[in-house]
């Protein structure tokens, strides 16, 4: 057992004792400094515990207690969760990038099956003869196709690739900025991280509507000279910046949209569209493969054909089980839980752990499903 350590957290509704504002009082929290027993994980200990008592006394006395306890509300307690949140966002982004490549591979595999089965004459898309346009909207696939057929075209989601990539980049930048704030090791890193966070919150707001004012609420926290000298103020400032950042990202704009929710939902829609595009091609591929299976095949060809069909089926099934919309909702919930936890850690920390854990599972599953490609080579012929 470890003796409880008295820790002090600022009540944000009240001014600080040293800046001369009125009605100052501080709330003293108590919590164990370390896990109470081996059976309790450190991560499950909330950043601040229950309210124990009000602290009374003069400003000088208050300051020393405050300074010694500022680390109690430090963002160190959230760095693990913010890090996990950020990894989940990275997984969504990576899932889109690899899923996009997999869609092109699916289409090529389906075309190959189509052409091979019919021993068809083949044409080369004229887009293969010139450099690709820079915008995804104007691109035409460089691919082979059956002579006489219409040249292949990009699916809608492929044409929107740039926009989806941009949305996911905004999300990633935001999540990385939260990580940077929580992990800033010194004053220089902290200042850079806060600037980065302010910019990314602004980007989220800009995506959700013309009102980007939310970004302005994330101003670098005022430097506390006394606290900085003794090395305690940075922890508190990181916490305050984290809180300001996540709150600003969750504050509705004039159009009613919540910046983080809007961007996450739109990115989730893009991921769903990508998943559906892959499903369509895989279903067509599946129809060709299963249509070929029959008694006229040799044993080896039948086995190969069956194996090819099963490989496609595994990918299709994975896409059906990984729900991009649910992953996006998971991200929104994890962010909401983060907002609630920084607001009242003692009460909401456990919910944050669960929400972030759920989101990580969903993001990992989605990345895995979107990245998967049929392992076997579809070369079966009659």
């Amino acid at each position: 057992m470890v003796d409880p350590v008295r820790e002090v957290c600022e009540d944000r509704n009240q001014p600080r004792p040293w800046d001369g504002r009125r009605s100052q009082w501080w709330i003293v929290y108590e919590r164990p400094a370390k896990p109470v027993s081996k059976g309790i994980k450190a991560a499950a200990v909330p950043p601040c515990g229950r309210v124990a008592s009000k602290l009374r006394g003069g400003p000088l006395r208050l300051s020393w207690v405050v300074l010694s306890g500022l680390a109690a509300c430090s963002p160190y307690d959230f760095s693990k969760e913010v890090g996990a949140f950020s990894i989940g966002v990275d997984q969504l982004s990576n899932g889109f990038i690899s899923g996009y490549a997999a869609l092109a591979a699916d289409r090529a595999a389906k075309t190959e099956l189509d052409l091979t089965g019919a021993r068809a004459k083949v044409a080369l898309a004229s887009s293969c003869l010139v450099p690709a346009p820079s915008s995804s909207k104007d691109q035409v696939p460089c691919a082979l196709f059956r002579l006489g057929d219409t040249p292949p075209a990009l699916s809608g989601i492929e044409q929107e690739r740039d926009r989806t990539t941009a949305l996911l980049a905004v999300l990633k930048d935001y999540a990385h900025a939260l990580v940077a704030v929580t992990n800033a090791a010194d004053r220089t890193a902290y200042n850079a991280a806060v600037a980065q966070l302010a910019a990314t919150v602004g980007s989220l707001a800009n995506e959700a509507g013309p009102q980007g004012a939310a970004a302005s609420t994330v101003a670098p926290a005022a430097v506390n000279i006394i606290g900085w000298v003794v090395g305690t103020a940075l922890d508190q400032q990181r916490f305050e910046s984290l809180k300001a950042g996540v709150t600003a990202a969750s504050t509705p704009l004039a159009n009613g949209e919540i910046p983080i929710n809007f961007v996450v939902t739109a990115a989730g829609d893009g991921l769903l569209a990508l998943s559906k595009a892959r499903q369509r091609v895989l279903i067509a591929e599946m129809n060709i493969l299963t249509g070929r299976l029959g008694p006229s095949l040799t044993d080896a060809a039948y086995r190969q054909g069956l194996s090819d069909a099963q490989a496609v089926l595994a990918v299709l099934d994975g896409l059906h089980h990984a729900d991009p919309t649910a992953a996006a909702e998971g991200l929104v919930k994890a962010h909401e839980a983060l907002v609630a936890a920084v607001d009242d850690p003692g009460r909401n920390y456990a919910s944050l752990l669960k929400a972030v854990g759920d989101f990580r599972d969903q993001a990992a599953a989605l990345q895995s499903a979107l990245s998967a490609t049929p392992a076997a080579k579809n070369t079966t012929t009659k």
Binding site: S155, G156, I157, E160, R163, T164, A208, G209, N255, G256, E257, I258, N261, F262, T265, A266, D269, G270, L272, A273, S275, K276, A277, Q279, R280, I283, A284, N287, G291, T325
Partner: protein, 113 residues
């Protein structure tokens, strides 16, 4: 709830109808009905387009409140047509109507109503 959530609600309703028909078409195919491969592929294509259009509508015009009523009418029409698609014959006979109803969903999403 934002406009994006409203759009997605209608999108999900349309996708649910198409999912149901995809499954039914698969069952009919397995029962020996002819022409189901192309039906299944058409339904999968409609799903892809619904998802795509909902996405681009949200990005292009997130204030398309006026489109929602049209969108809801279109998904209701999809439901009515889908209800007629029971046997292999009625399935194939009504596939074009389902496509037409789904196109109204695309139009609503594209034009904002």
């Amino acid at each position: 709830m934002g406009i994006l959530d409203d759009i997605n609600k209608e999108r999900d309703a349309a996708l649910a109808i198409l999912d149901q028909k995809l499954q039914a078409a698969g069952d009919l195919k397995n029962a020996g009905a002819l022409g189901m491969d192309s039906t299944i592929e058409e339904l999968a294509e409609l799903e892809e387009r619904v998802a795509e259009q909902a996405y681009t509508a949200a990005l292009d015009n997130p204030t398309m409140a006026q489109a929602l009523a049209v969108l809801r009418t279109a998904t209701t029409e999809m439901k009515i047509v889908a209800a007629k698609m029971v046997t292999a014959t009625t399935f194939i006979a009504n596939l074009a109507s389902l496509g037409t109803a789904t196109n109204k969903v695309f139009t609503a999403l594209k034009s904002g109503g």
